[in-house]
């Protein structure tokens, strides 16, 4: 059974693509057959984060317009052979996507026996974002602990429960999860940042994971290695927990408290 998961947020720059890449790798690490699709036609990034930007020959739009086969466009990951990337087109715009085309590609992935298909949504609520969420069974809403991101996520949650195939056909609603990224416990304590409880209270859905703000994320993005593979970074470990929860395991939340500065770290810095 193939599960379609959309990674979305409304607001830009909150970490959708970083999260898509890490969750895709995490699921592949658990032995699942995974495809991750970049819906951000015209502003493609996923290939960079996945480290396969020099191997993009055909893209999602080519497949939709039947200019190549799906097999030709799927880029096999170098680390996990059960992980595939479908890059967005950089030279086209969102209007190159059609609902029928997207549906055909997703159905083909289903026939290929993929366990999970992740749809990395562009920011906004226009066509690209709409098509990324339309066929979803599950949604991971990426949110930063700040008011504008929370409001945009609220809007996206509303669209998920009204503008998706599941909503239109009256099937069981799209399962919704929150993924809190760029969480900085020290700033929460200082009152600069919203806390996980604030966000949960406003949005009213269950939290899949909290990814702490970490220098590892930027370094990982720039080197094309999804941060989940960096076991030295808290962000990587937090993504690992989130993927385990997605697969139904229970893992306690980590990295929610501000680190107490001990005498040693005071002396040597952390």
């Amino acid at each position: 059974m193939t599960e379609f998961i959309v990674i979305t947020s409304g607001k830009g720059g909150v970490g959708k693509t970083t999260s898509s890449a890490s969750i895709a790798v995490g699921l592949a690490k658990h032995g699942k057959k995974v495809a991750v699709i970049d819906f951000d036609v015209g502003l493609r990034n996923l290939d960079l984060i996945m480290g396969c930007e020099r191997r993009v020959v055909y893209d999602f739009v080519n497949v939709i317009h039947q200019e190549c086969t799906l097999k030709q466009a799927l880029i096999k990951d170098k680390r996990y052979e059960n992980l595939h990337v479908l890059a967005a087109s950089q030279t086209r715009d969102k209007d190159a996507l059609t609902k029928e085309g997207v549906e055909r590609v997703l159905n083909e992935l289903k026939d290929e026996g993929f366990d999970y298909v992740l749809c990395d949504s562009p920011a906004g609520i226009e066509k690209g974002a709409f098509l990324a969420m339309y066929f979803a069974d599950r949604a991971i809403v990426v949110v930063n602990p700040e008011v504008s991101s929370v409001r945009d996520s609220d809007r996206i949650l509303g669209l998920l429960s009204s503008k998706t195939r599941r909503a239109e056909t009256g099937a069981t609603p799209v399962m919704q999860h929150l993924l809190l990224t760029r969480y900085n416990p020290a700033r929460v304590v200082a009152g600069d940042m919203m806390s996980i409880d604030d966000v949960k209270e406003i949005l009213g859905i269950e939290v899949l994971g909290v990814i702490p703000e970490s220098e590892g994320v930027l370094a990982a993005s720039n080197s094309g290695v999804p941060v989940i593979l960096d076991e030295a970074s808290n962000a990587g470990l937090a993504y690992d927990d989130a993927v385990a929860r997605l697969l139904g395991q229970t893992r306690a939340m980590r990295f929610l408290d501000a680190p107490k500065k001990g005498i040693l770290s005071r002396l040597f810095g952390s």
């Binding site: 059609t98 409001r151 609220d154 809007r155 429960s161 406003i202």
Partner: protein
């Protein structure tokens, strides 16, 4: 000369969605009285009823009229300024009637019909109560409200609008920032109200707003509104009610 580019989009996009449609339930067949009642309705809120789509519900008539008779009723409704667009769902005779008139049936009203069929006596009681106020005085807007309010159990998210036409609106989930909850009657929110709440949307000055956790951006009763740029500290997060006293919109804490 210029050839049309191949289009990847269908010419027409077919979508299903809920739309607000007025339901005119006939209790007796009297064209003159109906015309008079509809005219009064239109005068109270012309912008709402003028050219408003309306579904004709014949299920409460003692017996189903024939197609000719219904055509006359439709003409009466049309003459009043509203636009009849179909019949409410009913029995198979009703369906045959709709076919004869070439009008669609609206299935949304099916549940209401069937429940009355199951308990005709209860329906008769309700009908009597509704018919009780003397016809001579123009009915106050609140008399048009349905017996039960509309229930919204899912969160109302930013950008969403929920409108309870002709009734109260009861919400048992959060109303987010930038969401709007509107009712012709009162608005009850048994959770946090962070968006806009509008009660008495058709001018009912007796409508009120109640909420458990007050953080609203705007509250309005019968057109008298207040923008809450700063929520008063004694009301924020507290159970609050909002009502109209004369021309003044009042906000106060509920309970002890």
């Amino acid at each position: 000369m210029s050839r049309a580019l191949p289009s990847f989009e269908p010419v027409g996009e077919l979508k299903f969605g809920q739309v607000g449609i007025a339901n005119l339930r006939l209790k007796s067949l009297d064209d003159d009285l109906l015309a008079q009642e509809l005219r009064q309705k239109l005068e109270t809120a012309p912008q709402l009823f003028q050219r408003a789509p309306v579904v004709l519900d014949l299920s409460h008539l003692p017996q189903l009229p024939d197609a000719e008779r219904v055509r006359a009723v439709l003409a009466t409704v049309r003459a009043s300024g509203m636009l009849p667009v179909g019949l409410a769902y009913g029995t198979s005779e009703n369906e045959a009637l709709a076919r004869a008139l070439d009008l669609p049936l609206f299935a949304k009203f099916r549940a209401a019909y069937e429940s009355t069929a199951a308990a005709p006596e209860a329906a008769a009681v309700v009908a009597n109560v509704a018919a009780a106020p003397p016809r001579a005085t123009p009915p106050p807007p609140s008399a048009a409200r349905g017996a039960a309010g509309m229930l919204q159990a899912l969160p109302v998210r930013s950008g969403q609008q929920v409108y309870a036409r002709g009734s109260d609106l009861v919400i048992t989930a959060v109303v987010g920032h930038g969401a709007e909850v509107i009712a012709d009657g009162s608005v009850h929110v048994y959770a946090a109200l962070r968006g806009k709440a509008i009660a008495g949307a058709q001018g009912d000055t007796s409508a009120r707003i109640f909420c458990q956790d007050f953080q609203a951006e705007l509250v309005s009763v019968a057109g008298h509104y207040r923008v809450l740029e700063d929520i008063p500290a004694d009301l924020r997060g507290k159970p609050v009610q909002v009502w109209l006293e004369g021309e003044k919109l009042l906000l106060a804490r509920l309970g002890p």
